[in-house]
Amino acid sequence: MHHAYIDKFAYQDSPIHRLDARVKFVITVVFTAVVISLPRTTVSILFCYAVGPFVVLVMGGIPLRFVLKHILYVSPFVLVLALTSPWYDRTAATIIFGPWIWHTTVGWMRCWSILGKFVVTMLALIALISTTRFANLLAGLQQLGVPRLLVIQMGFLYRYIFLLIDSAHHILRARAARSAGGVAFGRGAKFAAAMVGSLFVRSIDTAEHINSAMQARGFDGNWRTINRLQVRVVDYVFVAIAVSFILGLYLFVKPLLG
């Protein structure tokens, strides 16, 4: 199943995995913001920016096939968005790229730029998620000021998504087993409602059980955790490299490439 394996690489070990979650998160946000703020028709500089997350992914031992497959999986919406550009902007443009010269339109440049930005920012996000354990990311978010209630909430959410997605799959399989081929809309909606409803009731029961498990272990309303994050010298080195990479490209290479 697709979902259960999404974070499987976060539990590997590598120098990248060992970096502080806060550092990785903030760098990812800055990187994304800078890439998105690049002019709307640039393409070539995006290749340079791709080097950053690419190196992180490779050093983290994340298989590139997994990354590409995942980017494809989430791309449909952006693909549609990108493909509308050539339609609405047909100003002619000429691209000179090394020995080649292409005649195209500004719309197409925008289209490629949107796709390029999408791929590069996705590379960065996947690099973050597949080299950072979610528990550490949550701890990091809390220290960066995200309300504790929301952090606890996301912890439970992350823990039980996989379980409930499995339940949903079981229910869907049961439906598929009983409905050969298509189902009329009315019955389909009714089925869907019963499925969603039973999932809901099941979720509430699970919540009650968890509550008991928490009470049984002495939970009294104060959420206590141990600080699991620690910034080391390596983290400062990483920040220095990442910042000089992002800024260096922006200030020096971008004007050159135009």
């Binding site: 080097v51 000179i96 500004v106 959410l157 009731v201």
Partner: protein
């Protein structure tokens, strides 16, 4: 629907993120004062439930090949109250963004506003207005239906508004707006149907859940409702007025002057001098674009720099990848031999 990074400019992303963070912070503070700690697992699980429920899809009428699924904000708002619903749905959106890469990191603020905050409060408010405290099932169903339709539409309308504020739209604003409204009318209808059906299912199986008695439900005071609506109205008004001044025609590329194309006429002449000034300023300080306009003297050197940049980057990636692969293989060998 999830907003993407590519539809936003950094200032709009930052602004919406600030609004979303402020809103969520306020709600969290309020909720943690009122709600007892044994609701924590309940909220978490319901977030996971929303995830799972979104996988349950069914065939849409008259649209072969497409299927609808529910989003759940209004359902949760009706059952849990708007505060908890807003927190639960926001956490779902954040986790979707981080773990499943749905919607971009920069678009998080927009997505939380459009899909969590607005639908939860608008939906709850409408539902309350229609049901008016009575629990007749007809009122419940009409209320839920209307709440879904309006809540989803409101959220959907915000997408083109935010994109237009960012000035990133290639599509004319009006086209985008109409498309979003149209599509989300259908989506809202489906959401409404499912929500109503789920409510009626729950009324049969666990009537205690629907009748306002689920632990953790918070009722809104009239004052809170009014204040929330006022704040939303102000945000909407501010957004629209900004939009009106910034996007007179929607086809923002068409009013830009093209010095290399003397015969080029803007499709719609732009009378607004501020905008032309801003544009000129922008074009002055924006670094050279990646393309050369037709008719410009072919700047071959630029082409070669781009070429060098791209091929250099690709080469770097190849070298890094090959180096790491070699190192891994060596490591595996020494491990297996020792």
């Amino acid at each position: 629907m999830h907003m993407a990074n590519e539809l936003l400019s950094v200032p709009v992303a930052a602004g919406t993120l600030a609004i979303a963070a402020g809103g969520l912070g306020l709600i969290c503070r309020k909720v943690s004062k009122i709600v007892s700690s044994d609701k924590l697992p309940l909220m978490g699980i319901l977030g996971a439930f929303i995830f799972a429920a979104q996988m349950v899809n069914f065939q849409l009428p008259a649209m072969p090949g497409t299927s609808g699924h529910m989003v759940g904000a209004v359902l949760l708002a009706i059952i849990l109250g708007p505060h908890l619903a807003a927190i639960v749905i926001s956490s779902v959106i954040i986790v979707q963004c981080l773990i499943f890469q749905d919607g971009g990191l920069l678009a998080l603020g927009c997505n939380i506003i459009n899909m969590a905050l607005v639908p939860s409060y608008v939906g709850y408010f409408l539902y309350k207005v229609v049901t008016a405290g009575q629990s007749s099932s007809r009122r419940t169903y009409i209320g839920a239906m209307l709440a879904c339709l309006v809540a989803l539409e409101t959220g959907a309308v915000l997408v083109p508004v935010e994109a237009a504020l960012s000035g990133v739209l290639a599509v004319p604003f009006s086209t985008f707006l109409v498309t979003m409204i149209g599509v989300h009318f259908l989506v809202g209808l489906v959401e409404g149907l499912v929500t109503v059906a789920v409510l009626s299912y729950l009324q049969q199986v666990r009537p205690d859940l629907v009748l306002d008695s689920l632990p953790g439900k918070i009722r809104l005071s009239r004052k809170t409702v009014l204040v929330t609506l006022l704040v939303f109205a102000m945000i909407a008004a501010a957004g629209l007025s900004l939009l009106a001044s910034k996007m007179p025609d929607g086809l923002e590329w068409s009013y830009r002057e093209r010095p290399n194309q003397p015969d080029f006429k803007p499709i719609i002449a732009n009378e607004n001098t501020t905008i032309t000034a801003v544009d000129q300023l922008q074009s002055k300080y924006t670094l050279l674009p990646d393309y050369t306009m037709r008719g410009a003297s072919a700047d071959t050197s630029k082409g070669w720099t781009s070429f060098a940049g791209v091929s250099g980057s690709l080469l770097t990636m190849l070298v890094v990848w090959a180096g790491m692969s070699l190192m891994r293989r060596k490591q595996a060998k020494t491990l297996s031999s020792s």
